[in-house]
Symmetry: C2
């Protein structure tokens, strides 16, 4: 690892005051942000192995995709515009039954290539063949939180949990600390109480967090009331799930007042997935209410079979637009709040707020640089507004993760995209047979 000096960028720090530095310099040393100077404040003594003139560019904290199933790139566009259960039962699950570890490795790499190209420096993943996903994180240079999906109704669920616990212990910190592991019980409605209790014990024993789907559809809530007499979130609290920290709850669409209080009290991280919730007609998560109550909210794309991309800039825009419409109030989820959810909020939701999510000296050098010279970003009244309401994933030119340039002026430095596309086509050919 070396050092980089990025000069003359507009730096959107996403710190607590949403500070924007119109012209600033940033020093990367090793894996960290080592210096940040506004205007002409940089001391003449500062130098670095490599220098980059970022005039006309906007530097932001790397975007954090707080909930996805990256390997579902395999199924992108394979089945759309369907009801949830036929979609799962007739289309998605039959193909997933045929998956092998290699499919997941290459499909996760494909998702990582897309994410890095779109300014994502960290993603939170839950899928089958978790070691393959973890290997893709290590090999690609991205930062990733990986949990194996645990489906409690499978006959080998207990064995799967043991493997997941062993994986979480063995793999954490791999790739120079870029890999974070969690346990991934799929959802309250797919996991029985006795398994969830073992998940809690396992997470506490190993010292890792939990990634779980929470209250995504209205039907789940009804079923939980019928079968358990309480909401899924209340049930998780009673089972002790929220004594683990961090817990990342994906979706949180259908919440009672009590649910909302539980999430805030236990500092549960929430991954809001507006694109997926819209496409699957799941409903609207009460994000303005959650934020007002002090909840920790990040943004996620969900898997690319239900989105159908891994574009966090689009997800920011959807979050900002959706809640204005839903509340009838055009002032809710303003641009700075949408950007904060996609960065600082996501980091906090994953328990990584001390390391990621802002541009600040001492934090990890996870950064994305966007070309703001293009026509769709002119004129430049407000760069934060442009990031949320006008920019596109394709505007990202350079991405640093853990201090390494993984995308440099539009070229991926750590991955062979042609080979990835070829391997994914091979997997798809086999799955379709």
């Amino acid at each position: 690892m070396g050092s980089w000096l990025i000069q003359n960028a507009t730096i959107v720090t996403v710190d607590e005051n949403n500070t924007v530095l119109p012209r600033a310099d940033l020093l990367i040393q090793g894996s960290e942000i080592a210096g940040l100077w506004s205007g002409d404040q940089i001391p003449p003594s500062i130098s670095a192995d490599r220098t980059m003139d970022a005039d006309g560019m906007v530097l932001i904290p790397g975007l954090i995709n707080a909930h996805t199933h990256a390997a579902m790139t395999l199924l992108r566009g394979y089945a759309d515009d369907m009801e949830l259960m036929p979609w799962l039962q007739e289309r998605i699950w039959p193909l997933e039954m045929k998956l092998e570890a290699d499919d997941v490795y290459w499909a996760t790499l494909l998702g990582i290539a897309e994410m890095i190209r779109g300014g994502v420096s960290c993603f939170n993943d839950m899928y089958h063949f978790f070691a393959a996903a973890a290997q893709a994180v290590v090999d690609s240079g991205i930062r990733g939180v990986v949990s194996g999906v645990l489906l409690g109704f499978l006959p080998n669920a207990e064995d799967n949990l043991k493997q997941a616990i062993a994986f979480a212990e063995e793999w954490r910190g791999a790739g120079n600390g870029r890999l974070v592991t969690m346990l991934g019980p799929h959802a309250p409605y797919t996991c029985p109480d006795h398994l969830l209790k073992k998940v809690v014990a396992g997470a506490q024993q190993v010292g890792v967090g939990i990634h779980i789907h929470l209250s995504e559809t209205a039907g789940e809530i009804e079923d939980s009331q019928r079968d358990h007499g309480v909401s899924p979130i209340r049930r998780m609290e009673e089972l002790g799930l929220f004594h683990v920290w961090p817990v990342l709850g994906a979706h949180c669409v259908h919440l009672t007042d009590e649910d909302l209080e539980i999430l805030v009290t236990h500092r549960v991280g929430i991954a809001h997935n507006p694109g997926s919730n819209m496409k699957l007609a799941s409903g609207v998560a009460p994000i303005p209410r959650l934020l007002a109550a002090g909840a920790i909210v990040g943004l996620g794309t969900d898997g690319p079979a239900s989105n159908n991309n891994l574009d966090m800039i689009e997800e920011m825009r959807l979050a900002a637009l959706l809640h204005k419409l839903h509340t009838g109030d055009p002032t809710v989820v303003p641009a700075p709040q949408a950007l904060a959810m996609a960065t600082r909020g996501g980091a906090a939701a994953l328990g990584l707020g001390d390391l990621l999510g802002q541009i600040k000296v001492g934090l990890k050098a996870d950064l994305a640089l966007l070309d703001f010279t293009q026509s769709h970003l002119q004129p430049r009244h407000d760069v934060v507004s442009h990031l949320v309401y006008a920019a596109r994933a394709g505007d990202v030119r350079t991405v640093f993760i853990n201090g390494e340039a993984v995308l440099l002026d539009g070229k991926l430095q750590t991955m062979d995209e042609d080979e990835i596309h070829r391997q994914v086509r091979k997997s798809v050919d086999r799955l379709m047979r």
Copy 2:
């Protein structure tokens, strides 16, 4: 004008059967599509001045932005996340008072550059200084429908109407037929009956269509009921507005059953603007109901001060997502329907269905070619799904309009973008003073 042969493209025709040709060749001669051959059907005798290998690319009809105010690029990001009336009264209108023709010319060119780069070959514009916008259409090579905005409450409204009628007559067909003119009474609530009657007479006399905002916000409907005893759309019918054809009604969010019937009966073109309606919290247009009733529906971005871009791929995606969520039915507005609204539907809504909106021999050669080799479009289960749910404006590499290559492999052929950005900055500097 010469001829072009585009070879080996996947061609999404957007014809009535939504035919997709996985590998096909297309011949452009002059301003028209002169030949279309699937597989290896092209006769060996066919040749052209220029040939393009489009392997890995997807060719679609040029996207049609059915409602915008392109020159509002000037105010992109200048004021967001505000209530409508303070936004207009405190931010937008004071700046618009200071506008000059040159501002509109350059700002319209900026919008056109963005639109062409995003695959838009035709846009329907309404703004001040309409001759400047028309000149931008002529100079840039895009196809444009231009109407001057008529605000009936202005003291010089009658003079403005006379000028608008003269403009419509004088300018139509300019730029080798690329310029279409209409009259643009702003909205029922800004135009008194006596002016609207003159608009109808003027449109019929000159033989042009009308572009008008219709029933965008709930407040308009209440005011119309109070002041006129009927809905705005019923009032327009009674005033004879819908005897003109084509009429393009932008928004149509808040409709009674009777309004819906009126729109269908009179073949009123509807421009649906999901991004703007979400951002301004205007409400949700009943698009699935309108389509089921046989209404003619296109898509628009609205102005970039309330969107904040001119990205029709995003607008397709928003349309497909929004109505799934709003109806609770994930099967409504499937991908082919969203794509049809952005092409065939927009052409029909503007009264140009015989010329534009599909890839078919004899229609105008208005085409966009997208690079489908990128990671976010892999694998390729379904190109129409990818266009609507995964693609981005930046994937467009080449655009033909009226048979001319206006964007060729990512380079604008007819515009100096640096000069446009410079002139727009100059305008902004003056307006902000």
